[in-house]
Amino acid sequence: MTAQTQTEPVRQHQESSIRRFRNWWNSLPRPQQWVGVLPIVVLIYLLPVLNPPGLTTEPNVNFPISMYHAAVLVLVAIGLNVVVGQAGLLDLGYVGFYAIGAYVAALFTSKDSMLHKLPYLATLPLAMVVTMFFGLILGTPTLRLRGDYLAIVTLGFGEIVRLLATIIPALRGTVGFSGIGHPPGTQADGQPIFSVSNGTPWYWLAVTIIIVILLFVGNLERSRVGRAWVAIREDEDAAQMMGVPTFTFKLWAFAIGAAIGGLSGALFAGQNGFQNNQDFGVNFSVLYLCAVILGGSGNKVGVMIGAFIVSYIPDRFNFLGSQKYLVFGVALIVLMIFRPQGLLGARQRLLARGRTAYLRLVGKPEQLSSDSALTPEKGGGA
């Protein structure tokens, strides 16, 4: 008891300084926030070139390629966050969409495929369309079910995609597709800029796509759609009562999440240059989920940090090997017990104009809700 009373003021003090910074940041108009973020973005772009000594993963793993993999996982996490974090639907088959995206890129660009060849960059939107379609197919029957059924059915979907890649002859199983395309452009010596061995241009491409997707997802979150998602996540029945067409919006979340998953899969296949059925086990779905939960489900910045950690730690400390699954499995258990909302909790904020209006009306900055589907229910801790 005494220990608790002693630490309480300290914690409050720490929280208040963080909160003060956050309030100050939130009070800035959006263009100023963008200017503030700009140096960080530039730094992120420069990461593989700088190759900072403490941060580098070499000599074990090529640093730009490691950064590229991290960027792809960040994109995956942003997509999964729409499904799990925003709409509160537990999707355990996300790797299925990722796989479909990768196979779209492979089927339409590899010399091993009998299909028409398309330029690689055209397969990126195509992958999004195809996976969105699969998301609708999977979502339409299953999103009417209760949450835990959805988890298991999506898990099955992920397995089905992997198994189909193994047993359908046209998808070439472990033999796979080699020579998957890449964006155009050659260096002075005739080598393609986007080569398998050079991660830096791929990384820049991925970061650019992430920024575009972030703008898109961020705007969605602040729109009517995003509010509907949060309502569904917090209490589906209540949302339905208030006139939110829950099924439609859940389906939207599912399809948009799927499309982003497909996009990241296609990106991954491009840099890899080769695609077979080996990269799509259920353990990847769990890894993605871990990234989202670790960072803070429902918080875009959080899930990006989470994804970076999940991708970067095994590369940096590569003695972890396959034990990374053990580490992240234990991390999930511990997180759920001690910090279920992740590193950064879910937050729903008003827009800058709404904030000033709120401030004028209420006389104090907006109260951020840190509620998410994962924070403990208040009261009645029996």
Binding site: M114, R144, I152, E159, T166, I168, G329, L332, M336, G381
Partner: protein
């Protein structure tokens, strides 16, 4: 012809082998029932825990595979290996019983420990449902990769308990002693469990908590003890299932070997109506049969899972609570 149509028209996508399906129909039926019995036993664990806690115990497949390791070690210790053991029937039965008890004990203990370490702290904190599910996934992975750390990624050496011998023929299909053993033993275990749940005082406690935890607590049922008992029963059944699984698939002891089986068993539980014990039995048999038929019809063993899952989704679309409906509380009115 247009290349896309060539791509879709040739046989490189899906082949239907109807003649093999017809020819092997009864073989598949009997073998499917044997597999189904194993699925049913595992599905009971999912169903019991779900009935009481409304939790998909994702790590139940790892409870099962831990039992399989116990079977492997016991039988290896007793001198079994990748060869046909030439021992008398009586000593064989004794050895198998020993292995079965070892597996049941190990699985039961792991299930109870899992509940203690992973789920109980969450219940204390009144955590939301999603947190339980994520913990379960985390536990499943933690156990899998702990085993991988200990035993390495490859499968263990096969342990053959006895070579299946055809005993009699029905509809032109041989029924082996192995299939009979698995089916009869599994059904027996399930009848015992069903009786335990429906007829004993402990079973009444389980049904009461499944129906209404708060009221049951007010009526003097020790909820924590009931939850522990539920995990224990699930673990014991999974342990027994692991023995039958190794009997059928001698080289199936691998760190991630339980995962797919667990998914199938869960599908079985949902198919029959999760939370419903007899539903688990029915669902397990159906999944076993459907999987076996699909596998022969489409020509690759992996199809069994694909088909099982498609069947699950289709049934859930029309009957979201499974075939027999979901209620452990109303198992006996």
């Amino acid at each position: 012809m247009h290349p896309v149509t060539v791509f879709l028209a040739d046989n490189s996508w899906i082949n239907f082998d109807v003649s093999a399906f017809k020819e092997l129909f009864w073989n598949n039926t009997f073998d499917g029932l044997a597999y189904g019995a194993i699925y049913s036993l595992i599905a009971m664990g999912y169903t019991l825990v779900y009935g009481v806690l409304r939790l998909i115990n994702f790590a139940h497949s790892e409870v099962f595979i831990v039992g399989a390791y116990a079977v492997f070690f016991t039988l290896s210790f007793l001198g079994f290996g990748p060869f046909d053991p030439q021992i008398s029937v009586l000593s064989l039965v004794g050895d198998l019983l020993l292995a079965c008890i070892a597996a049941m004990l190990v699985s039961g203990v792991v299930a109870v420990l899992l509940e203690r370490i992973a789920y109980r702290p969450l219940r204390r904190r009144n955590a939301p449902k999603l947190a339980f599910l994520i913990t379960a996934i985390g536990a499943s992975f933690a156990i899998q990769y702990l085993i991988e750390l200990w035993r390495g990624p490859s499968a263990e050496q096969a342990v053959i308990m006895f070579q299946p011998q055809p005993v009699f023929t029905v509809f032109g299909a041989n029924i082996s002693n192995q299939q009979i053993t698995i089916f009869v033993a599994a059904i027996l275990l399930m009848v015992v469990t069903d009786t335990f749940i429906n007829r004993t005082r402990f079973g009444r406690g389980i049904r009461a908590v499944a129906q209404d935890p708060d009221t049951a607590t007010l009526m003097g049922v020790n909820k924590e003890r009931v939850i522990m008992l539920t995990f224990l029963i699930g673990g014991l059944l999974a342990g027994a299932a692991s023995l039958f699984y190794i009997m059928k698939v001698p080289a199936g002891v691998q760190y991630n070997g339980g995962f797919n089986l667990g998914i199938q068993a869960f599908a079985a539980a949902v198919l029959g109506g999760i939370g419903n014990i007899r539903g688990a039995l029915l669902g397990g048999m159906l999944i076993g049969l459907i999987g076996n038929y699909g596998q022969t019809l489409l020509g690759a063993s992996q199809w069994s899972q694909v088909i099982a899952f498609i069947a699950l989704v289709v049934i859930l679309m029309f009957r979201p609570t499974g075939i027999l409906g979901e209620s452990l509380g109303r198992a006996r009115v």
